[in-house]
């Protein structure tokens, strides 16, 4: 059996990749994918804990997270499209209408 630590390490690494991607990439779509990566990292650790503790709560939360992530993707892409129609860009550095 794969020990719990391995799952937790995988989860931490994937989460950190997500954080790093979010902070360094400037393309909205890629930033958005980084957030999804972070959420899935959490899912890995929750499922691992759930299996290890023999408790269903973690897996229930994972189902909820996946559902919410789908809703979030729908709204996020809608906002990106609305933005793209007004300004032909998906780069956050070019989003500078407001300063101060």
């Amino acid at each position: 059996m794969v020990p719990l630590n391995w799952y937790l390490m995988l989860s931490a690494v994937v989460f950190m990749i997500g954080v790093f991607g979010f902070l360094t990439r400037r393309n909205i779509i890629i930033m958005f994918m980084s957030i999804e990566l972070m959420l899935n990292a959490v899912n890995i650790s929750l499922v691992a804990f759930s299996h290890y503790l023999q408790d269903m709560r973690g897996q229930i939360l994972v189902i909820f997270i996946i559902t919410v992530a789908a809703a979030e993707a729908a709204i996020g892409l809608a906002i990106i499209i609305a933005l793209f129609r007004n300004k032909d860009t998906v780069h956050v550095d070019e989003m500078n209408e407001m300063k101060g």
């Binding site: 909205i28 650790s45 939360l61 919410v68 809703a71 906002i79 609305a82 989003m95």
Partner: protein
């Protein structure tokens, strides 16, 4: 697993206001198809809120195995949310016509967002907390970008969305660590597990508390997770800004209080160590950055950041008196902040933005009543007696002093003295300068009613503060 047929229906009594709210919000969403006059939909949404408020009184208790708690604490927060919806709808009716976004979904999104806040206030379990938070946040992202053809509004929605989902990923990581550590997501079970096993000081617990602090600081716009607030407040439609500055902030404090005081009650020393620097930084950055603003919505955004810093003092105090002063302050804050935004909305008319501070020059000469109202709200936000803002700050700082954080209260008073500069600058512009541009006020019965409610509440609570604080004291005794 063996008892599949023995399904026991949970007690739906405590959750009845939320169920009714869901049904009414869906109904309003559908009614958009048949009702052509959008004012009717606005009226319906106020009626729905009135029905839900009526139901709130009779529904207390814990249900769904402790996942949903309807107690005095959540009831008080829900009253703030209901108030927030009513005032926001009143100030929106004419405004969204001027902005040419007069769609019915606007009202149902506000109701869905409020439903999320209600779930957050009642969350007894981290799963309910997360779901409420996301329902609130997703509806608010859409509302922030409601001016579809305005690039500023798109940008506001985009920034709010990206940083909001980033913060909720941190919340989830915190939840997963707590789940791994304690084997449960129930707030009371977490609390008893931590105190039984003597886990305070455990690095995993501290790390997950930091994660929670990050996510909640984002929701209440506390430094260093405040960067979204000025941009989003400026870009979003002003009525939505008013809604956002009160609702999600109050909901953020509701979960902050519930999670840190209930679940992490045994690890108080650690989390006060996290929250004290956040509170000081929030007051400092909010008040100092507000000084140099030229846009009134941005200025009010920094002001709302600063207010989050003051309110954190009540949480840091950690006593039920501190929590009562937080509830009291949020209640007062709802009136004074929405009142100020109502005046900002009045200045917006066809072809005139009216959100620059210079637009307020000489307002007292052209529109003395609007200027006088703005004066009251600015005095209240500064905390000058006899307005409610003074009493709110008084109780908040007193609770910090009696919990032994005198130096923190002194710091807060110093920063609140700095805040007088930018609030009173508006007053100075209105009363001591000559009008440059002819400002057209777009008054409507809705705004008039909202302004009347807010100004009367601000003055009345300022003169007779004991009623609200005594109710808040009962509510905070959880």
């Amino acid at each position: 697993m063996t008892n599949l047929t023995g399904f026991i229906m949970p007690d739906l009594g405590p959750v009845m206001p939320e169920i009714v709210m869901t049904c009414l919000a869906l109904l309003i969403l559908l009614s958009e198809l048949v009702i052509k006059r959008k004012e009717t939909i606005a009226f319906f949404s106020i009626v729905s809120v009135a029905i839900v408020t009526y139901l709130l009184a009779g529904s207390t208790g814990t249900t769904f195995n402790g996942m949903f708690i309807a107690d005095g604490y959540s009831l008080f927060f829900k009253l703030i949310f209901m108030l927030n919806v009513i005032l926001t709808v009143l100030i929106s009716v004419k405004y969204i016509v001027i902005e040419k976004v007069n769609f019915g979904e606007y009202y149902s999104l506000i109701l869905f967002s409020t439903l999320g806040m209600m779930l957050m206030a009642s969350a007894g379990d981290l799963i309910t907390l997360y779901l409420g938070l996301e329902l609130m946040a997703l509806s608010t992202y859409v509302l922030a970008g409601f001016l579809r053809h305005d690039i500023k509004s798109n940008e506001a929605a985009m920034k709010y969305f990206l940083l909001g989902s980033f913060a909720s990923a941190f919340l989830l990581y915190g939840i997963s660590m707590i789940y791994g550590l304690t084997g449960t997501t129930d707030l009371h079970a977490i609390s008893s597990y931590i105190s039984q096993k003597g886990l305070s000081g455990n690095p995993v617990l501290t790390l997950s508390m930091i994660m929670f602090a990050v996510a909640f600081s984002f929701k209440i716009a506390a430094v260093p997770f405040h960067m979204w607030a000025p941009d989003v407040y400026e870009g979003a439609p002003t009525s939505v800004t008013a809604f956002m500055s009160v609702g999600p902030k109050a909901a953020g404090f509701a979960v902050l209080g519930r999670v840190f005081l209930t679940a992490f009650g045994a690890a108080r020393i650690e989390w006060t160590g996290i929250l004290i620097p956040i509170a000081i930084l929030t007051m400092a950055v909010g008040n100092i950055a507000a000084i140099s603003q030229t846009n009134i919505k941005r200025m009010l955004a920094y002001s709302s950041i600063a207010h989050a810093g003051y309110i954190l003092l009540g949480i840091i105090a950690g006593t039920s008196e501190g929590m009562a002063s937080v509830l009291n302050y949020l209640f007062i804050y709802a009136f004074m902040n929405i009142g100020a935004f109502a005046v900002v909305i009045m200045l917006r008319s066809e072809g005139f933005k009216g959100d620059n501070i210079s637009d307020y020059e000489g307002l007292a000469k052209t529109h003395p009543l609007a200027a006088a109202l703005m004066l009251v709200f600015m005095f209240s936000l500064t905390g000058i007696p006899p307005t409610a803002g003074f009493m709110g700050k008084f109780y908040l700082f007193m609770s910090a002093v009696s919990a032994g954080y005198t130096w923190l209260a002194v710091t807060a008073v110093i920063f609140s003295a700095i805040s007088a500069y930018f609030y009173l600058r508006i007053v100075m512009y209105m009363y001591m300068k000559e009008p440059k541009t002819a400002v057209q006020l777009s008054a409507s019965p809705g705004i008039a009613l909202a302004l009347a409610i807010t100004v009367i509440a601000v003055l009345l609570i300022g003169v007779f503060p004991s009623k609200v604080i005594s109710v808040a004291r009962i509510a905070a005794g959880f």
